[in-house]
């Protein structure tokens, strides 16, 4: 019993370590990808000095961040000034705990579950972590003792609260279709691609819900067109005006990790997670070890596509004005989400 428990905990620790490692590497290379994508959209070359094609650029950036001087303003609240970025990166990382990364991998006679925790309130857990994410920004902005930082923090808070509501309502419509809160079960319901004469992926059952969800995901991760908390034309640098060195790095990094996790959540909830057309055939051919790993690869391909989509939008669409942002959230997204719930209810009552 003791030994089995230690083995279980050890296995989970290894999995958590791998997932953290992967999210950090993905976040690191997202910064590189962002600059390359931006360069492509603006007909430039982008970073190309550090290593072939500039592939070592993230390492150079990271080294620069670590080498810079650590400044804590005199009148800042020194403990909370450090808590802010720590909290931001922590809440960004813990969201990945409930995402099922793949089917269980069979090595020899052992099963390895590729999900850290299959709690039966998985969707709500994600939602809770998202709502916690705003504290990192708020505490950091307030502790800086700077008016621009505080304004950025307050913008972030009101934006996140407003868009959380629409996000929750769009998830409720999804839950009415799936009938479960466990992410593992939601993914298993989307097995394969085509079943009983219709697509199995939730995107084809909830297109409007997905649209609402992705708009809210943009707002929750503070990405353009919703990056008003760090709107440099109005607020100098937003909530991280006073930050320097790696503390600033953590804020920037947490944005990219958030992007990674929300891409994973979107692929899991709406685009079938690790499922792909013809997966049964592939699993039967490759066996229990490599078959699920192909599924993991497919999930990561979807995630990379969504990260690219985030960047695509960032370098295409200009920033909203603040009142436009609030109007969109409260007067368009929330009524649309409620209409989506009603439509879903009517549809599932009368057509099934």
């Amino acid at each position: 019993m003791e030994l089995a428990l230690i083995g279980f905990v050890g296995e989970k620790f290894i999995l958590v370590g791998i997932i953290f490692g992967i999210s950090l590497v993905v976040a690191m290379y997202s910064t590189y990808a962002e600059r390359k994508v931006a360069a492509f959209f603006q007909d430039r070359v982008g970073p190309n000095r550090a290593g072939p094609l500039g592939i070592l650029q993230p390492l150079a950036d990271g080294a620069k961040m670590f080498m810079k001087e650590e400044i804590i303003p005199t009148r800042a609240s020194s403990l909370l000034f450090i808590v802010g970025p720590s909290l931001a990166i922590m809440t960004a990382c813990i969201g990945s705990a409930v995402i099922p990364w793949g089917q269980p991998v069979i090595i020899g006679s052992d099963y390895f579950d590729l999900q850290v925790a299959d709690i039966n309130v998985g969707v709500l857990y994600i939602f809770g972590v998202v709502s916690l994410g705003v504290y990192g920004v708020m505490i950091g902005g307030w502790a800086s003792n700077n008016k621009y930082s505080l304004l950025g923090a307050i913008r972030a808070a009101s934006q996140n609260i407003s868009y959380e509501i629409a996000m929750g309502l769009s998830i409720i419509a999804l839950l009415m279709v799936t009938g479960t809160l466990s992410l593992r079960e939601i993914v298993e319901q989307q097995h394969g691609f085509w079943h009983h004469g219709y697509f199995t992926w939730n995107f084809f059952r909830q297109p409007l819900g997905f649209l609402l969800f992705i708009v809210c995901a943009f707002a929750e991760t503070n990405r353009t067109p919703f990056d008003l908390p760090e709107c440099e034309t109005e607020l100098v640098g937003g909530y991280h005006t006073e930050y320097s060195s790696m503390k600033l790095g953590f804020y920037l990094f947490s944005e990219y990790i958030n992007m990674f996790v929300s891409s994973a959540v979107m692929s899991t909830l709406y685009f079938g997670g690790y499922n792909y057309p013809g997966m049964d055939y592939v699993n039967a051919t490759l066996g229990g070890t490599w078959g699920p790993l192909v599924g993991v690869g497919v999930l990561f391909a979807k995630i990379v596509f969504f990260i690219f989509f985030f960047m695509w939008v960032r370098w295409t669409i200009p920033r909203f004005r603040y009142d436009q942002l609030m109007d969109l959230g409260w007067k368009i997204l929330i009524p649309l989400a409620i209409a989506n719930i009603v439509l879903t209810g009517l549809f599932s009552t009368f057509f099934k």
Partner: protein, 167 residues
């Protein structure tokens, strides 16, 4: 059990820090930590749904609004009015009265009867939903109406009076 006592100690500690913190923003942050320890207690009771709702609603929404308002108010030491001794005296008496009432109530109830859960999965989403939407459907819907009326009232208070029309 020892975990329960540890978490309970933490909640009491943070609750005391809420009161004793000089800075209102620190108070709110301690209150968030107190709510977090409550979430842990719910998890220990296997009440996952309550735990996560406490997490989302209290920690994630209500406390964000508290923090928001307190940050906007910008309570500095200079702008804070100095309380007179009379108010302090009245506060001590009122607090003491509350303490006496609570102690008396606990005494009158003799001893808390430990409730033994008959079903371990009582707090899971499925069983909670079944109870809420079968046995307690009417109270559930009535409470939603109550919340709705509160919301309408808040919107009514917040909107400015329109210009009287000429018609």
């Amino acid at each position: 059990m020892s975990l329960f006592y540890f978490v309970a100690f933490l909640s009491i500690l943070f609750a005391l820090l809420v009161i004793f913190a000089k800075n209102p923003v620190h108070s709110v942050l301690y209150l968030i930590l107190t709510f977090f320890t409550f979430t842990i207690q719910y998890v220990l009771l296997n009440a996952q749904f309550l735990a996560i709702v406490n997490f989302i609603v209290y920690m994630g929404a209500i406390m964000v609004l508290f923090l928001f308002v307190i940050m906007l108010l910008n309570l500095n030491k200079d702008s804070e009015p100095i309380r007179s001794n009379f108010i302090k005296f009245a506060g001590v008496i009122a607090g003491g009265c509350l303490l006496v009432v609570i102690v008396a109530a606990v005494k009158a109830l003799d001893k808390s009867q430990p409730v033994i859960l008959r079903q371990g999965d009582l707090g899971l989403v499925k069983s909670l939903g079944k109870v809420l939407f079968n046995q307690f459907l009417l109270p559930f819907e009535v409470s939603s109406l109550l919340l709705f009326s509160a919301m309408v009232g808040a919107v009514l208070l917040a909107t400015k009076d329109k210009q009287p029309s000429n018609a």
